[in-house]
C-alpha cells in the first residue's frame, strides 16, 4: 500500500477528493484504507464528546461500517448535544461571566433582563451598605435596561423591584428631599418670589382638617378639591 509514487493521476485525485469529502462529513467509505480510518478516528476524536447526556438519535451520519465507527456516530450526536448545552449555558449566563459576550449578541432581550437584575441586585447591596449614590446610579442603569425589555411581564416585575428599592432609597435619605417625588404635587408656600416684605403666614398651610371624609362619601364630593385654596390670597395682595 505504501507506494512512493506521487499519485498525480486524475483517477487518484478524484478518488482522494471523494474520500476527503466523505471524511469531512464524518463518514467512512467501505473501501477505506488505513490512513482513511485514522483520519476518521481523528475527526471523531476532535468532536466535542465530553457532554453526552441524552437524545442520541440526532446523528445525521451515514456510516458504512457501523460497528467499528459507532464511535463516530456517538461523537456527532454528542456534538449536537454539546451545542444544545452551550445554548442553554449561554442563555443562562450572568453578566461578567465567560459566556456573557455571546449572550449579549445572541439573546439581547435576555441580556437586558439579566443586566437589569444585576443592576438591581447591586443597587440593593449598595443600599444595604449605605452607599446611596451608588444605589441611585445602579437603579438608573436598571431603568435604562428595563426600558429596552419587550417582555411586558418581566419588565413589570423589574419595575416593581426598582420602585421598591427607590422607596428604600428615599426613606434612607437624610434630610435631602427624595430624588423621585411622588406625583402628588403639594404647592409649597415658597411660591412667593417677589415679596421680600412679608413672609406669608404659615398658618394657612395647615388648612382646616377635612371633616371626616368617611362620614358621607356620597354627598358633595366636589368640596374636597378645594383644599389648596387658602394659600392664594395673601400672595396676591402685593
Amino acid at each position: 500500500m505504501s507506494t512512493t509514487n506521487p499519485p498525480d493521476g486524475l483517477p487518484t485525485i478524484a478518488a482522494d477528493d471523494a474520500l476527503l469529502d466523505a471524511l469531512g462529513q464524518g463518514t467512512l467509505p467501505a473501501d477505506a484504507d488505513e490512513v482513511a480510518e485514522m483520519l476518521a478516528v481523528w475527526r471523531a476524536d476532535l468532536d466535542p464528546s465530553d457532554e453526552a447526556f441524552e437524545e442520541v438519535d440526532t446523528a445525521p451520519v451515514v456510516v458504512l461500517k457501523p460497528r467499528r465507527f459507532a464511535r463516530v456516530i456517538m461523537s456527532a450526536a454528542a456534538g449536537a448535544i454539546l451545542l444544545t448545552g452551550l445554548g442553554v449555558a449561554t442563555y443562562q449566563s450572568e453578566p461578567g461571566g465567560p459566556l456573557w459576550p455571546i449572550t449579549e449578541v445572541v439573546y439581547p432581550q435576555q441580556a437586558e433582563i439579566r443586566a437589569a437584575e444585576n443592576a438591581i441586585a447591586l443597587a440593593g447591596a449598595a443600599l444595604t451598605a449605605g452607599n446611596r449614590d451608588e444605589a441611585a446610579r445602579q437603579l438608573d442603569e436598571a431603568d435604562a435596561h428595563v426600558a429596552r425589555v419587550d417582555d411586558e411581564p418581566a419588565a413589570r416585575r423589574l419595575r416593581g423591584e426598582i420602585d421598591t428599592l427607590r422607596k428604600r432609597l428615599a426613606a434612607a435619605s437624610p434630610s435631602t428631599p427624595a430624588p423621585h417625588p411622588s406625583p402628588s404635587t403639594q404647592p409649597t408656600p415658597s411660591t412667593s418670589p417677589g415679596t421680600a416684605a412679608n413672609p406669608a403666614p404659615s398658618a394657612p398651610v395647615s388648612p382646616s382638617p377635612s371633616p371626616e371624609p368617611s362620614s358621607r362619601p356620597g354627598l358633595l364630593p366636589s368640596l374636597l378639591p378645594g383644599l389648596p385654596l387658602p394659600t392664594l390670597p395673601p400672595l396676591l395682595g402685593n
Partner: protein, 193 residues
C-alpha cells in the same frame, strides 16, 4: 453541518437578527471546535485551551459579522481566516509564556491517564495521526485539516487558502500519499519497538 452556510442566514445574522445569529452559531461552532482542537491539540492532556480559543473565534466572528459583505466569497473563508488568526495568536501566546510545549511534543507523549481500552485505542490512533500530520508541509496539513476536521469543500478550502480548487485537490492528494507512506513506516517502527 459542513454544507455551505446559507447566505441569507448570514445576511440576517449580520443585521443582528437574534434567531439567525443563534442558528448561524449552531452551524459554525462544531467545525470551529474541531478546527481549533486539530490545530492546537490537547494541551496539558485536554482540549480545554483549544475549546477556549474556539469560543473566542465564535465571539470574534459574531463581532465582525456586521462588517461582512457578501462579495461572492464563501462565508467559510471569512470565518476560517478569523479562526486561523486566533489560533496563531494562541500559539504565539503559548510560546511566549512557554508554559505549554508545542503540539507535536504533547501528542508524542503517552497518555498519563488512559480511559477505557477502546477510548485509549481510538485516542492513540488520533494522536498518531496528529503526529503524522505534523510531518506534512504546512499547506498540505492545513488543507487536510480544513477538509477532514472542519468538513469544508475543496472549493471553500481554495478560497480560505487563496488557491484554486484544482490546486487544493492536487495538494490534498499529495498530502494523503505522504500520510500513507508515513503511516506505513510508522507502523513498522511501532512493531519493531
Amino acid at each position: 453541518m459542513s454544507a455551505a452556510i446559507d447566505p441569507d442566514l448570514v445576511r440576517r445574522a449580520a443585521q443582528r437578527d437574534p434567531r439567525a445569529t443563534s442558528a448561524l452559531l449552531t452551524e459554525l461552532r462544531p467545525g470551529l471546535v474541531r478546527y481549533c482542537r486539530a490545530r492546537l491539540g490537547r494541551i496539558g492532556g485536554a482540549y480545554t485551551t483549544a475549546d477556549d480559543v474556539a469560543q473566542e473565534v465564535c465571539i470574534a466572528v459574531l463581532r465582525a459579522l456586521p462588517q461582512y459583505r457578501d462579495e461572492g466569497r464563501p462565508f467559510a473563508a471569512f470565518v476560517y481566516a478569523i479562526a486561523a488568526h486566533k489560533v496563531a495568536d494562541a500559539q504565539r501566546a503559548a510560546i511566549r509564556d512557554s508554559a505549554v510545549t508545542p503540539t507535536e511534543a504533547v501528542l508524542d507523549r503517552p497518555d498519563a491517564a488512559p480511559g477505557p481500552e477502546q477510548q485509549a485505542v481510538a485516542t492513540d490512533l488520533a494522536r498518531r495521526l496528529s503526529a503524522l500530520l505534523g510531518r506534512l508541509p504546512e499547506a498540505q496539513r492545513e488543507i487536510i485539516l480544513l477538509r477532514v476536521a472542519v468538513g469544508l469543500s475543496a472549493d471553500e478550502v481554495g478560497v480560505v487558502m487563496g488557491m484554486s480548487a484544482a490546486a487544493v485537490r492536487v495538494a490534498q492528494s499529495r498530502g494523503l500519499a505522504r500520510l500513507r507512506t508515513l503511516a506505513g513506516s510508522a507502523l513498522d517502527e511501532v512493531t519493531a519497538a
